[in-house]
């Protein structure tokens, strides 16, 4: 590529889906936004027909490193993220060792910086070893170089009400948030799928909606009582949407996320016994899918979080009961949300920016992500071709996980370019190069 001093002129993009404008990217920031912009030496990107959006921020990603590098690494997971339109991801804490100390979160943070594809923001565990017994050193993780603000035992519910209360209280000291995996453990012992009409026929142990809803109901009341900030991971039922709506009406400081797969897929797919559809929380019914879409559209649900969960193939090529729970999602999220929310008329691209970027950055307290596409703002942005259609092929993805439930599905929307800190990590729909920190100036001085 010609030396352009990191200057890019995006011509004629529909900013947030509105009228065509030019964006000038220079020195890591948006230098100008307007019509008929010019810049000598800039690389010009013709963006007619493309939508410009803030870089997506995932509040819920499993990068698997350290510990399960056979499933995913920070490098492969963040390549997938960049291709999917992300400029920041929150890496969940259930690695091996668990991210429950400053040392582990700093390791993940460093791996993210070294990879250079997106901003990797480690999530700290709420309890030591995710064991649900003793608070992890939340303050040390908050004060570390990783500046952790989101804490979660994701995969496991902080079910002890006293421990949950203490965690909610404690994180107030550094403006943190507790992201709860809402799953009452006794009601879901051995659970394999949504409990209902389909589980009755298939003879698979049910995961009842009430196991999610009862924890959310308890937690919003706890958050109100201690006046703290609660985030509910991967909301999956109509009842949960109702409870969160009620809580927000009462002014409780709660945010919620929904996954792309819960916006599209139902438990009918489990009839195949194909473990690619096994996920926690499980796929629910069509009525739940419709309620989740409505909740995302009206703001009850704040963000889309992928819960990207890659697994090695042997963990899915087996009996349903033996299979691991989880689906990949980073490279399909944009398309699934476009398909379920925009093409259905429930949302605009501006709404898309809110639920995939702005609100997500606010929950994670990421000051330089999810910003407006205005002059002077950090150049974390993407260009999307909304007219593109493509067929999902897990073998062609950057993630190491082949467990995409959307395999073979034709979906709309393609990420054409991703700019992270002003650098194109993705160009022409292909991975470009990672972002590199500018060389330290101190070396020159000495």
């Amino acid at each position: 590529m010609a030396d352009n001093n990191g200057t890019y002129l995006i011509r004629g993009a529909a900013v947030l889906g509105a009228g065509a404008e030019d964006l000038l990217i220079r020195d890591g920031v948006i230098g100008a936004r307007g019509t008929d912009l010019h810049a000598d030496g800039a690389t010009v990107i013709e963006a007619a027909g493309l939508v410009a959006l803030p870089g997506m921020v995932d509040v819920h990603t499993h990068l698997r490193e350290p510990g399960r590098e056979d499933a995913e690494t920070v490098e492969t997971g963040t390549r997938a993220a960049a291709l999917g339109g992300y400029t920041a991801v929150h890496a969940m804490a259930n690695s091996t060792p668990v991210a429950d100390t400053a040392g582990v979160v700093e390791q993940v943070y460093s791996l993210g910086r070294a990879a250079g594809w997106v901003d990797v923001r480690p999530v700290g565990a709420v309890t030591v070893g995710l064991a649900g017994e003793q608070l992890a050193e939340l303050g040390a993780m908050a004060d570390s170089r990783a500046r952790v603000r989101m804490f979660s035992d994701d995969g496991i519910c902080v079910h002890d009400p006293v421990l949950m209360r203490r965690a909610l209280e404690y994180v107030k000291a550094f403006d943190g948030v507790v992201a709860q995996h809402a799953q009452e453990p006794r009601l879901t012992a051995g659970a394999q799928m949504n409990e209902g009409e389909v589980s009755a026929v298939l003879g698979l142990t049910g995961w009842p909606a009430v196991a999610e809803e009862s924890i959310i109901a308890r937690d919003v009341l706890l958050a109100q009582h201690v006046n703290s900030r609660l985030h509910v991971c991967h909301v999956s039922t109509a009842g949960s949407v109702e409870i969160i709506r009620w809580a927000k009406e009462r002014g409780i400081n709660v945010t919620a996320e929904v996954t792309p797969h819960h916006l599209l897929l139902t438990d009918d797919l489990v009839r195949s016994y194909n473990p690619v559809y096994k996920v926690n929380p499980p796929l629910r019914t069509d009525a739940d899918v419709q309620a989740l879409r409505a909740g995302l559209a009206d703001g009850t649900i704040d963000v889309v979080g992928t819960d990207h969960a890659p697994h090695p193939s042997e963990h899915k090529e087996c009996e349903w009961a033996q299979a691991a729970m989880g689906m990949t999602g980073l490279e399909t999220a944009l398309s699934v949300v476009q398909h379920t929310m925009i093409e259905t008329g429930l949302m605009t691209w501006a709404d898309f920016a809110r639920v995939t970027s702005t609100a997500a950055a606010r929950i994670g307290r990421l000051s330089d992500q999810g910003r407006p596409l205005e002059a002077g703002e950090p150049a974390n942005l993407i260009l999307v071709d909304p007219a593109a259609r493509w067929t999902v092929d897990p073998a062609r993805m950057a993630t190491m996980g082949r467990n995409s439930p959307f395999a073979g599905l034709e979906l709309p929307g393609k990420v054409v370019a991703t700019f992270y800190k002003g650098h194109p990590t993705v160009l022409d729909g292909e991975l470009n190069t990672p972002y590199r920190e500018p060389a330290a100036s101190s070396a020159v001085v000495s």
């Binding site: 409990e195 009755a200 003879g203 049910g206 009842p208 016994y273 349903w320 009961a321 033996q322």
Partner: protein, 346 residues
């Protein structure tokens, strides 16, 4: 029909075809030489991930009466217990040239996985998977009921269905693959099914099933019933609070001596009592009920071999497979070949 995985998707014509073929197979069991050459040179693997001596020997007897070679593969003490995956086990059996795999597995859906993947090309027969289905058990139950129903009507069973027959299935429906397979098959055959169970042992979603649900055994009997099928209940369920005690379970849901007498006083002289076995005498069924002339428990076992012969024969000599050697001596076999030519997709 390439596989026999469930009764939920078994068509009426295929169900009748299996039952009719089983009638012919039963005739073989009455002969001096209880053997047909139909599956000579074919290999049937009994792949059992869960202990079940009864079902395994029933399939083994069925395959041997059809002259197939039988390999018994019990997961316990084998490479499976050393962590070998279902996929590797299936591919191993495929490499050894298995023509049919009879699989019993503790995990619901395991037979579907074998049938849906490219791990193995053999015909798959579900011999009971988790709490999902046990189709050959339902077929042998239907076979037993059909003979009884036809005898009452004074007609033959071949070609008949179960229209109008009232069947109560009582007990731990939630954990029962037998109950599920029976509900679907009896629906297909036109019987009227009532499930009788404590509410804790009925699955959420049962209201969508093609049957009635009752919490009261005595009322169900009073309303009239032609067959009562008692399901095995495990005492350990008590520990998970599905019911307070085995005694209370027995009093409210068991088929005890009082209920046996009630059949007489209600004038239900032709009502049969069924049980898939093994029985917990004194828990879900009293000794007197199990041993009464109404009990079909041993007929069910006998019919199981005939039904499994029929299933193996139809799957292994179907259109998608090479034709089996045509035996020239058995009238029954020729008849089933004729039925076979009307094969339809399942």
């Amino acid at each position: 029909m390439k596989h026999l995985l469930s009764t939920e998707d078994l068509s009426l014509s295929n169900a009748i075809r299996i039952l009719d073929t089983a009638e012919e197979m039963a005739a073989v069991g009455d002969r001096e030489v209880k053997k047909l050459p139909a599956l000579r040179g074919r290999t049937v693997v009994n792949l059992f991930f869960e202990d079940s001596t009864r079902t395994r020997i029933s399939f083994e007897a069925a395959a041997k009466r059809l002259s197939a070679d039988v390999i018994n593969f019990a997961a316990k003490g084998s490479s499976v217990s050393k962590g070998e995956s279902l996929k590797d086990t299936a591919q191993t059996l495929a490499a050894m040239g298995a023509d049919a795999v009879v699989i019993r597995h503790w995990a619901s859906g395991a037979p579907h996985r074998l049938a849906a993947t490219d791990w193995i090309d053999a015909a798959v027969i579900n011999a009971g998977d988790g709490t999902h289905e046990h189709p050959t058990q339902a077929l042998l139950d239907a076979f037993t009921m059909r003979r009884h129903w036809a005898k009452l009507a004074g007609s033959g069973s071949v070609g008949a269905d179960l229209k109008g027959m009232r069947v109560a299935i009582a007990g731990d429906v939630l954990h029962s693959r037998v109950a599920r397979s029976n509900v679907w098959l009896l629906r297909t055959l036109g019987a009227e099914v009532t499930l009788v169970a404590p509410p804790t042992l009925l699955p959420i979603g049962v209201e969508q099933w093609p049957c009635k649900v009752s919490y009261n055994m005595d009322q169900t009997l009073e309303q009239g019933v032609d067959a009562v099928m008692m399901l095995r209940v495990q005492g350990e369920r008590m520990n998970a609070s599905f019911f307070p005690s085995t005694r209370e379970y027995s009093r409210r849901w068991g088929f005890d001596d009082n209920r046996l007498r009630a059949l007489d006083s209600l004038g239900l002289k032709d009502t049969i009592i069924m049980h898939p076995g093994p029985m917990n005498r004194g828990l879900e069924i009293s000794a007197a009920a199990a041993d009464s002339p109404r009990s079909t428990v041993l007929s069910q076992v006998r019919n199981g071999v005939s039904v499994r012969m029929a299933a193996l024969y139809l799957l292994l000599s179907g259109d998608t497979r090479e034709p089996a050697a045509v035996p020239d001596t058995t009238r029954a076999y020729a008849h089933s070949n004729a039925a076979h030519s009307t094969k339809e997709s399942n």
